[in-house]
């Protein structure tokens, strides 16, 4: 019963903050909204016994990602007059139609059954503890885990390359 309550509350929070994020005029509020959504999702993870994922969710998203976002928001200025204001009406209508349509389509498609996969291979009531996840992660998924090195390298290198504004750039532009 308590599970139900928790779910209802945090589902509502998630939805509410998501809507807030989308509709807030000020990007800071949007960021806050996103933060809220992520937190509540983390809680839901806990409900789903995915503790490790929940933890990572909090650390990575709430910790790193959001900070970055806020940082950038601050960097480019909160109140950048032309950045706000009402969207194009046509765009608005289309947005509503599309998002509602998407949701409706998925739910309609799923109304019969959401999870049709077989749980033959599954362990009955799965508990996403660290060791369970990790021996999967470092067992089956080792290669993939290693491959993320690429992603991180790219992230690092790319950011450097993009953020690189040196005097050289100026003259290098001149020669382009």
């Amino acid at each position: 019963m308590g599970e139900l309550i928790v779910f209802v509350i945090f589902a509502t929070v998630a939805l509410a903050s998501a809507v807030a994020m989308v509709s807030a005029r000020n990007p800071v509020y949007s960021a806050i909204g996103l933060l809220g959504a992520m937190f509540s999702i983390a809680i839901l993870y806990v409900l789903l016994d995915a503790h490790f994922v929940a933890a990572v969710q909090v650390i990575v998203y709430a910790g790193a990602v959001m900070t970055l976002f806020l940082f950038v928001i601050m960097l480019i200025g909160v109140d950048n007059p032309d950045a706000y204001g009402p969207a194009v009406p046509a765009q608005k209508v289309m947005t509503w139609v599309v998002s509602v349509g998407l949701f409706a389509a998925i739910v309609l498609a799923g109304r019969a059954a959401w999870v049709t996969g077989s749980d033959a291979f599954g362990t009955p009531d799965l508990n996403g503890t660290i060791e369970k996840v990790s021996d999967e992660l470092f067992g089956t998924w080792t290669v993939v885990f290693l491959s993320t090195v690429m992603l991180l390298t790219i992230a690092a290198v790319g950011t450097i390359a993009l953020a690189y504004f040196g005097t050289e750039v100026a003259d290098e532009e001149a020669t382009l």
Binding site: E3, F7, A11, L15, A18, M21, V22, P27, S30, L34, A37, I41, L44, Y45, L48, D49, A50, F52, V56, Q57, V60, Y61, A64, V65, F69, V72, I73, I76, N80, A83, Y84, A87, Q91, K92, T95, V98, S99, V100, F103, I106, G110, W114, V115, G117, D119, F121, G122, P124, L126, G128, V133, E136, L137, T140, L151, L152, I154, T159, L162, A163
Partner: protein, 101 residues
Amino acid sequence: MIITTTWYLVLAAALFSIGVSGVLIRRNALVMFMSIELMLNSVNLTFVAVSKDLGLVEGQVAALFVMVVAAAEVTVGLAIIVAVFRRKASANIDELAELKG
């Protein structure tokens, strides 16, 4: 009453749709990008919920990888936005419509 996986999945679908709407309706590159992050989160929710339902831990692992990817994406994405901002002094993507036709 007991909450089935369906609830989670419907919630995820809803969040996803909201995310989509955010991408479509906002003019601020940052907020658009946030919406995309939201979409990724909802996907993660789906993964985890399904993994719970099927008892397959793969779902959770997948969620972790998505997070890694998201992190990298965020870094690069924000770098791009910053770079744009440094030249145009604006994050309003409606002003970036020079390339068309």
